[in-house]
Amino acid sequence: MIDYFTVFTTGGIVLWQKCYQPVSAAIVDSLVSDIFIEDRGRSGEQSSLTKNRYTVKWTTANDFGIIVVAVYQSLLQISFIDELLASVKKLFTTLYGDELKDKDPEQLPVCRFDDYFAVRYAELEKLSEGRKVGKPSVPSNGVPGEKISSDDGAEDTLEAPSRVTSSDSIGDAATAASASAKKLPLGKRGGRRGGRGGAKARVGRESPFASSGDEVPAKKSGKKLRKWDIDGSARDISDDEGPLDFSTADANGNVAVDEDDNDNPLLEDENFENWGAKTKSGEFILKDLSSEISSILATPDASGTTEGTGGGGAALASGFGFFRNIIGSKVLKEQDLDKALAGMKDHLMKKNVAPEVAQHMCDVVNKSLVGTKTGNWTSIEKAVRAAMEDALRRILTPSTSVDLLHEIQRVKSGNPPRPYVISVVGVNGVGKSTNLSKIAFWLLQNNMKLLIAACDTFRSGAVEQLRVHARNLKKLTEREGGEIELFEKGYGKDAANIARDAINYGREHAFDVVLIDTAGRRHNDTRLMSSLEKFAKYANPDKIVMVGEALVGTDSVQQARNFNAAFGPTRNLDFFLISKCDTVGDMIGSMVNMTYSTGIPVLFVGTGQMYTDLRTLSVPWAVNMLMG
């Protein structure tokens, strides 16, 4: 049912993955950047995103820096998916927590999680089936279920030292011989003892060793096939297991011996230590796997996440919370952040950021900080501030760069050559025509041949206004060789038709750019907004620019959303132009509102009354203004 399940670090290193159905890497990549970088899919509490017929659900553990993601077909309803994600997170952080905590480990954490996952998955699946049908599953299912867990238990004990031949064979023999679980521990102990010997003698016995390594995944996949009957995955598992397998790690180690003799003892020590640590926590490994899982899941969250993070200093400093705040290196909890975040929210709202957006920004910051440790000499306020700057920067930075001049050149020299079409839309009186002429001025300075199409056939004076602009611009840029013309059809006609005619005219007369001015419309007037869809279809502009004014407050969220949705399901806005930025000082929150609600970047800002008062957005400038 689940196509793809993975656990990876925030750095992008996949720790463990399971592929039931091949999902193209490009899809997974784009989903990950959409969710974790572009911050899409924030529909309420449920963290899920649907795209290209796939649905993604995820959960994160900040203190460990890991992300758990499940991808499945949107058609399917998987009721237990949240539970599965939560339990995988819990299991993963409990099992590999120590290794994951080390931010700069000597080796990548090796996570052999397949069996835990399979067992937990089967459990939850059975549970949900039971819920649906109303009775527990058939008894015949129960027997192999038991068998799985005991088998896996055996395998799990061998997991750490499984690189060793002897341990494997003994463990296997033990499993085979003992039908009862009572005998298992003996087998395991034997296995471990054998393992120790094997680990020491490892370097000497290279070749038998390699062969044993090959056997391990083969045996595993055989098991998988037998138990869960998932043909496609079995191959994938063995593929994925390959690089993570201890045997290959050893092979690498041996390669390292050839290159550099000094490296090897160190490496071996490391392995040995890891392995020893695992033996120490052996009590629960001795139990069978499913009961281990349930015991891990039963432990309350607090012990797992908040304690043991501070290291040596934490115990000492627990009484000095006040000092901690000043000195830093404090593990952040939700209640610590509340006050700082409330202040931050007020601050943002004073900058004209809509309450909804401010709350979301605070949630983002909250999520990114809970469980992390503040830097030395960093107070909570400072940490929150830094995180907020980061979040704002992330929202405002466009995810693709727009180089209009380059694109115009490309379209012009294309085959067949056609004019590049830019159209402006927006609410009444935000400065559509004014900013259109500012863009025109900039293009004229770059020796373009422009056609302005007057498609505001509604407001009296709109055409005349553009005519004055065209005349002024012509005079201003005559010497530099800019050419500009106005295309008008008077008032009362259909805007979409005029736009199409203008583009045809532009094509016939070899214009470089056609700039289309449209009538202003209220974003919640469905009658006026519905004509935009036709407009987009007829004119099909290369770029649709929405002009929004910096003065508008909370309403900008809805404006941006409605305009973005008005062009039909296949067309969106391309970028925003925020006008009247010179009139609001540092209260430029509308920018954040609009980019937040649509994910569409701000390209230009209008900063004054002159033709030259057009600027591209500088993200550091905007962040400084908002945080200042």
């Binding site: 925030t10 990549d29 950047s33 000597e106 000095f320 030395n376 001049l405 591209t616 500088s618 993200v619």
Partner: protein
């Protein structure tokens, strides 16, 4: 932060502590023990911070490049000796214990940073590179590109644009910061060879320079045009000129202060010896 205020601050706080606790009639020995603990703790913090600071600020190599070029895979291959499956990075990967294989063991380990390639996250690289350059700790930038995608104009454009922004930073110091363009995935059929990639990038960088010179200037604090791009903290997409002033007609990477080398390699098939060689050359200098 400089040293004096740090020592000043704890002193101030401890005295406050003394006043407040003695007001409640706490026995003297508890006070002295408390003081001892506090001072010990501050000493520990200071020492800890100092050692950690040195480690994190040591000589470094920085991995950069557009998304999907294989940066994180290269990072794990260099650091752990094995490539790992990767997904787009959300945060940087950093190690302070990176060793180059052919250098003697007595050399200090390097810092190796792998930065996310997504457009929204590039700010981290720019600021990190600037601080590292200011501290003169950066040995080189490994700019990883997907050589197999460089025959596609939009991908080439993306790679060149990011490179342009990085070069504008590396050009700021005398002699520049060396940059290796690591043409990754060269084992693939469609891969562009290093020599050709160099010319492709030069042509594209030239085009970018031309169109940026004509673009609308960035908004600055006072709303005026910002012509001085040297102390401008916003590098991305800025109109700053790269290469010789007033140079027209062509762009050559040789003209830059930054020494740019383009080398083929492949993380997937483990062919990164040339890149390691390049790093070792930079490391001993």
């Amino acid at each position: 932060m400089s040293a004096p205020p740090e020592t000043d601050e704890p002193g101030h706080l401890t005295s406050q502590e003394t006043v407040s606790t003695s007001g409640y009639g706490v026995p003297g020995y508890i006070l002295s023990v408390g003081l001892l603990i506090i001072t010990a703790y501050f000493a520990y913090e200071l020492i800890y911070r100092r050692t950690k600071g040195v480690a994190a600020g040591g000589p470094r190599f920085i991995i950069a490049g557009p998304s999907g070029s294989g940066k994180t895979a290269l990072f794990t291959l260099l650091r752990y000796g094995k490539k790992s499956t990767t997904l787009p990075s959300v945060e940087q990967n950093l190690t302070t214990k990176f060793r180059l294989p052919n250098l003697p063991d007595t050399t200090k380990p390097f810092v190796l940073v792998d930065t996310p390639g997504h457009q929204k996250l590039r700010h981290g690289l720019f600021s990190a590179l600037q601080t590292a350059q200011a501290a003169r700790t950066v040995h080189g930038v490994l700019y990883v590109v997907d050589a197999s995608a460089m025959s596609r104009p939009e991908r080439l454009r993306e790679a060149a644009e990011y490179m342009y922004d990085i070069l504008r930073i590396t050009e700021r110091v005398r002699g520049g910061t060396d940059m290796l363009v690591a043409a990754n995935k060269s084992e693939l059929f469609t891969a562009v060879p290093a020599k050709r990639l160099r010319t492709l990038l030069e042509t594209e960088l030239y085009k970018i320079r031309e169109s940026r010179a004509k673009s609308v200037s960035k908004v600055a604090a006072d709303g005026e045009k910002d012509d001085s791009d040297d102390d401008n903290e916003d590098i991305v997409g800025g109109s700053g000129w790269l290469g010789k002033r007033g140079e027209k007609g062509s762009f050559k990477l040789e003209d830059l202060e930054t020494e740019v080398t383009v080398l083929d390699g492949s993380v997937d098939s483990g062919k990164i010896d040339a890149w390691i060689g390049w790093m070792e050359e930079r490391a001993v200098n």
